[in-house]
Subunit: 308 residues, 2 copies
């Protein structure tokens, strides 16, 4: 069976949306990625760091979903990374209220021995030097390295970020970040420029407008499912990445055709994530629900046209 | 053969984009709708008004494309409607520089006798009382009435607009306008509210993010083709409406399944329109190019997924 290494934050989030607010709840990129990827019954390991304040029950919960948690370092006298944010009424923009790096400030990722030959690596949004360190620890060249990043690293660690981008196969990035990284407004032109930086596949996330997958001169559009209520967008991008990486790990097929299905799986899982606060919806998700939603995605986009 | 009545402006436009600017060129909603609809070799008539300054060659050009122009009134001592606008760098927003209503101020539409039994009516963006007048002139109840409108009429003639909306089958409207009309942020909820106002089908246009088709509890997503260059967005929405109405007139099939294909045709034709200034691209369009683009739309969205 194919293995997946997931690196990213495991964290506390406090979220405000027009629908309500939460106290400190379970969050973090690796948490969302892991919960989504675990739907594929693959061998997945989370590489992260938490403080002594992190509840054991959260770790157990990840473990019960088949995720290897031996790569989650626990710094007993440290505090877990904490993020707090407030979404505006449009749910597309948010203000960060608090960012406490805590144990993340000195995070030195350690890939478990039995995962150093993993086929797929999912590098969640983190300092590029941390992402680089994970790649360096692999003893066999991975078949596929997927990277997620954000504008913060473009502003503060661009050179290191470009060095990592040169070594990966798939990048997931949002539309504004793709424009910032390339200086190109057209996403088609931006994607082509990013391909020259390293990645074979470029996935541009457009939030409620879905995601675009680029490869050579090809482009594929994974829509976002139009929803009556977007309750909390937190974790949607990471859930998308989790669906993407989980599907590719499961199928061991890294072709363009497989990537298309992977982004559809990612979009489907992300459409659940936003229905409740935090990880709540992902924790109760059933296979039947996922299959029904994939069918909804088919209904949403499939057509057969006769030429007139 | 099925007939289509198109009502809307036939106008002069002067356009500025980051790529250049034009003098007064041929424009107007009915022009773009007519050029798109004429691709289907249907019987189509344009109902509009122009001034004595309007070149005969433009009228002849529409006629050569098989469009009945007897409903285009020429007010010899009047001036043609003129609009001038400048697009911002993002090409999604624009400033109106000049609006001269001219002969449009007293426009009293007259449907040609032989089109008063048309099966399909395409009501382009105009004062709702003008749209209403066209409906009133029909001697046989049309099979399908499609209406396009904009926020200007919501602000200035809401009551009349609602009266027309109650009588139509399909509305095309952009996302912000759908929100304004209903007071609902979610497009799914907005579409459902609009359906209670009259239309069976609601098409919400999202510009570069494509369009959504709603019917009962169903939703279908026609993507916009990601383009390297959007040269001039003028007329894209009207071209979309022209493709939609032309396809439905041609097929005489007004089912949800047919509407899906119609919005794909509309999106395909609109993707050509933005490639050049004004009507330039639409005037040179070939059947082969349209068929190739429809295939691109299929490649963009079609997938076959196995459930894991």
């Amino acid at each position: 069976m194919s293995k997946l290494v997931i690196v990213g934050t495991v964290a506390f989030d406090a979220i405000e949306t027009p629908f309500g607010k939460t106290d400190k709840i379970l969050g973090g990129a690796a948490t969302y990625i892991g919960l989504a990827a675990s739907q594929f019954n693959i061998e997945g390991a989370i590489v992260s760091v938490v403080g002594g304040d992190f509840p054991n029950e959260y770790i157990s919960m990840l473990q019960e979903r088949g995720l290897d948690v031996s790569g989650i370092e626990i710094v007993e006298d440290g505090k877990t990374f904490f993020w707090s944010g407030r979404y505006n009424n449009d749910m597309n923009t948010r203000d960060t209220l608090v960012t406490e790096l805590n144990v993340l400030a000195d995070f030195n990722p350690k890939v478990p021995e039995e995962y150093k030959d993993a086929q797929v690596i999912m590098l969640g949004n983190l300092h590029p030097s941390v992402q680089q360190s994970v790649i360096d620890q692999m003893v066999i060249k991975p078949k596929l390295i997927i990277l997620d990043t954000m504008n913060f690293w473009m502003n503060n660690a661009l050179e290191e970020l470009l060095q990592v981008i040169a070594k990966i196969d798939v990048i997931t990035i949002n539309d504004e970040e793709a424009r910032q990284l390339t200086g190109e407004y057209s996403l088609v032109v931006a994607a082509k420029k990013i391909m020259t930086m390293g990645p074979k596949y470029v996935v541009i996330k457009k939030g409620e407008h879905g995601a675009l997958l680029f490869c050579d001169d090809e482009v594929f559009y994974a829509p976002a499912l139009p929803l009556e209520v977007v309750f909390d967008p937190t974790g949607a991008g990471d859930t998308f990445a989790g669906g993407l990486s989980g599907y590719l790990t499961k199928t061991e097929d890294y072709s363009y055709d497989s990537l298309k299905k992977a982004v559809i799986y990612g979009a489907s899982l992300a459409s659940f994530c936003v229905e409740k606060f935090g990880t709540e919806r992902m924790l109760k998700l059933t296979k039947t629900e996922i299959h029904q939603r994939l069918q909804q995605f088919k209904n949403l986009t499939q057509f057969d046209i006769e030429l007139t």
